[in-house]
Amino acid sequence: MSARPPRLVVGVEVHVQLATRTKAFCACPVEFGAEPNALCCPVCLGHPGALPTLNRGALAAAVRAGLALGCAVAPRGAVRWDRKNYFYPDLPKGYQITQYDHPLCENGALALSDGTRVRIRRAHLEEDTGKSSHAGDGETLVDFNRCGVPLLEIVTEPDLGSAAAVEEYLRLLRDRMILAGASSCSMEKGEMRCEPNVSLVRGDGSSTGISELKNLNSFAAVRAAVAFEAKRLEEGPWHPAGAAPPRTTYGWDDAGGRTILQRTKETAADYRYFPEPDLPDLPAEALAGFVAEGRAALAAADADRSAAAGRARAEAVRLGLAADQADLLLVRDLTGGRFAAALAAAEGAGAPAAEAGPALAGWFLGPLAGWVNGRGGDWAALRASAGDLAAALGLQRTGKATAQVVKEHLLAGEWPGTGGDPAAFLAGRGLLGGAGEEAVRAACAEVVAANPDVVAKIRAGKTAARGALVGQVMKRMRGTADPGAVNRILDGLL
């Protein structure tokens, strides 16, 4: 028995949907949410006599993706296609066109913030399958719209050691794919599907079985599932060093917060891979153009991002933003331009940049981000316009509403989903205009009278205890009191 706790070992397989207008091997359009089976032809339906022809756009996107991951492109000299044979109703030809032993991209890496180098073993092009859905009456329906859509399967070495590292890797991967214009990686649309392989290894080399986790539809789900499985695996069973650990597939039950056994792989499925005779090999020379174009596109994207970062740095200085705030709001533009628009509206309304910048940054990364995350994470749900937000900032700056009221009652409530005049919204709830001097004074007097022990401490020199009195006054006033006035009045009473 080793004394140290077992080490978590995770490798990840990710399928990203390449951003192309048409499918990988036919001319059918790629669209999300179309009528079932509206986007099919004899080729993707596997009709007799139909043959695949390569979409060069998919190849170009895959090459860009590989370059963005630091991979060597076609290191074995040619791009070859293989057939992976198995029967399933959503697989019309009875085989999937993929790449078995000559993947398009190999030997890449991404570095995590703590310096961990996540090695990427391979990234290969393949076609997606259709989608089966099981109706309640025992019927199975198949939608072939997705069938033949180009995917890039990206496989890491088992270099990840924590759930947080897995999540960071996936976020980084998505960022690189988007930068390369290879995929938009929307997890909601199934454009990025993550399958971590999780196991524990002890100091003596013994290990648990490998759990392959599926049905992970968000980064949060990935993180939770890996953490859950790591904990569950601690119970063993343990397999001695050198033995091939069994592989088991688990699904993730997001609502229940646990993994669910799907199947144990007692024998490896025999996919009878062989070279796809309908698609000629692409010699390395034929790829050289794609690689050169890919490098140029990636360099341009990097330059664009550097320039954007430069502009963002200057803007951050002008606004007095912290580096991480500037990165999220100006470089990665998490809010889809909404921060910049609100800032422009506030400056247009006369707010100085150094005041409006930090205030709005706080709102967007604080209460508004929380509000949006509570509604599926889509900033489009935010209906309060740039002008509405500038008006809210105006109320705060002119003392018509305190910062606390704005934060708690305006930005974290219903208002972001409706928008409209913030003054009217707050007035309707009796939260506007600040509290009168008399009301504040009365509240202060009540608090002083109710807390003789605290008052005694303050009078004895423990001035830090004063904060407790201020807090109580603010609470009584539902945040409408001006903290400066509260302090001034308390000073007089003490």
Partner: protein
């Protein structure tokens, strides 16, 4: 009648010229052939489906075009029969299998579309061994085709329906497919000419795949000139087939030019092969004599790997077939037989839908690709395939064409080999070489045995040198070693 020959005895080019010159209308020609099929095909079974209405419609369109002063196209009004593993829009594609029951092709195969664009009139779909797997056309779910030379005998296969249709005067031209001799062997057994073009010459789009790296569409007809004409129409780059070669179609005059300076290699192993009937050997030697007399330089050439051809072929073709035929699963089209569950539905559908030979080959191919066996079978077959191609490359440094028998025997009686798959497979022992190497090969009649059963002479040429193969074939054809007359009942 000009030339003295009835319409059904004319080569395609001559018939086209008569239609183009308005001696006969396309509709009259179509009716002539449709009438012969209606009267005579009952005893042959060349056609699975005759599309009289469609044929007459396109024949009338040809006539209207000519009436309007339009220039006649290369196959204007020429009736053509199409093997039923090629899609013809609006007609069922059966592949002579129950499993495709109810499937109607949504579009023409590229070769068919090009025939139509050249003015050809599609008469209907011809019988074949199920999914083109066989050498006798007995493996058809809809009954065998008989040889017009002797209806007690097979026409060869798998393009037996197309070969019998041409031999019986039901069409001057037919399309077939050749994966391991399926155009040339039936052409030989029926006493007509068949061309397997270079792999990639003719688009495979719309041809139901059997062995994708071997399959090639080609013509069956009476003369080398007709084969050249047909090839000039159906060949050429097709964006729907990634393996089609980026080349223009060759000229229709491809078979012209004679033998001057041609170096001919007689394949030693093919002429010394076990099982070669003496009458076939004698006919082949006569054809070699014709080439020599015609000015060709003849020598013997060895292809040491010839003996491995059949083994390699049956591993590669069945492996690819096991994958190609997976799509016939009852889910989207064709036959579906319900089962206890999904796997049961697959099993029942494929059990009832496929015939014995198809199942045998799916099993062979699945085995050859299986983990633990793929190295010993499929991968090894690929290596030997490469060696066979190397043999040919070497030989073609010395000679322009390689010649020998197309098949070891003349047409055999129905039922003789159907219970003995290995004997049946050996029908293609000389033919598979060209498929494995992707090179063009022609079978041209070179005589008959004492009973009048034809023998075929095979001419192979380097990739893209259909011209050389067709020139040699034209010289043999001109010598008239097999009487040109149609067999008795079909005169």
């Amino acid at each position: 009648m000009a030339g003295g020959l009835p319409l059904h005895a004319l080569p395609a080019a001559a018939l086209r010229d008569r239609i183009a010159s308005r001696e006969v209308s396309a509709e009259e020609a179509a009716r002539h052939f449709l009438d012969r099929i209606a009267r005579l095909d009952g005893g042959i079974g060349a056609f699975l489906r005759v599309d009289a209405e469609g044929a007459l419609r396109s024949a009338r369109a040809s006539d209207a075009r000519l009436d309007a002063g339009g220039a006649p196209r290369p196959l204007e009004g020429v009736p053509v029969a199409v093997k039923d593993n090629l899609n013809v829009e609006g007609l069922p594609t059966t592949c002579a299998s129950r499993i495709l029951e109810g499937f109607v092709a949504p579009r023409d195969a590229t070769a068919v579309a090009r025939l139509r664009a050249a003015g050809a009139v599609i008469l209907g779909k011809t019988n074949l061994d199920e999914f083109a797997m066989g050498s006798s056309t007995e493996n058809s779910a809809f009954g065998p085709t008989r040889n017009p030379r002797d209806p007690s005998r097979v026409p060869g296969g798998s393009s037996g329906g197309s070969a019998a249709a041409v031999a019986a005067g039901f069409a001057p031209l037919a399309l077939g497919s050749d994966t391991g001799g399926s155009i040339r062997q039936p052409a030989a057994l029926c006493g007509i000419l068949g061309l397997k073009p270079t792999y990639g010459r003719v688009s495979r789009s719309g041809l139901v795949a059997f062995g994708s790296s071997l399959d090639q569409v080609g013509p069956l007809c009476r003369t080398a000139a007709d084969a050249a004409l047909a090839l000039s129409v159906i060949a050429g780059r097709d964006p729907m087939d990634a393996t089609s070669l980026a080349l223009e179609a060759p000229a229709a005059s491809l078979a012209e030019g004679g033998l001057r300076g041609m170096r001919v290699g007689v394949v030693k192993e093919h002429l010394e092969g076990e099982g070669l009937e003496p009458a076939v050997k004698a006919a082949v030697e006569a054809a070699v004599g014709v080439l020599r007399a015609g000015g060709a330089e003849v020598r013997e050439v060895s292809l040491p790997r010839s003996g491995d051809g059949i083994a390699v072929y049956y591993l590669v073709a069945t492996s690819e077939a096991s994958s190609n035929l997976a799509r016939f699963d009852g889910v989207r089209y064709g036959l579906r037989v319900e089962g206890r569950d999904l796997a049961g539905m697959y099993e029942e559908t494929r059990d009832r839908g496929f015939g014995t030979e198809v199942k045998r080959r799916i099993l062979l191919g699945t085995f050859a690709l299986s983990a633990g066996y793929a190295d010993a079978y499929y991968q090894r077959a690929l290596r030997v395939r490469r060696l066979i191609a190397d043999d040919l490359d070497r030989a073609f440094r010395e000679v322009d064409v390689l010649v020998g028998p197309t098949a070891p025997t003349v047409a055999f009686p129905l039922g003789e080999k159907i219970e003995d798959p290995l004997a049946m497979y050996l029908c293609d022992v000389f033919a598979v070489t060209a498929n494995l190497a992707g090179i063009p090969a022609v079978s041209v009649p070179c005589g008959a045995d004492p009973a009048g059963l034809p023998a075929g002479f095979q001419v192979m040429a380097p990739a893209l040198r259909e011209d050389a193969a067709l020139r040699a074939a034209a010289a043999v054809e001109a010598a008239g070693l097999l009487p040109a007359a149609l067999p008795g009942a079909f005169a």
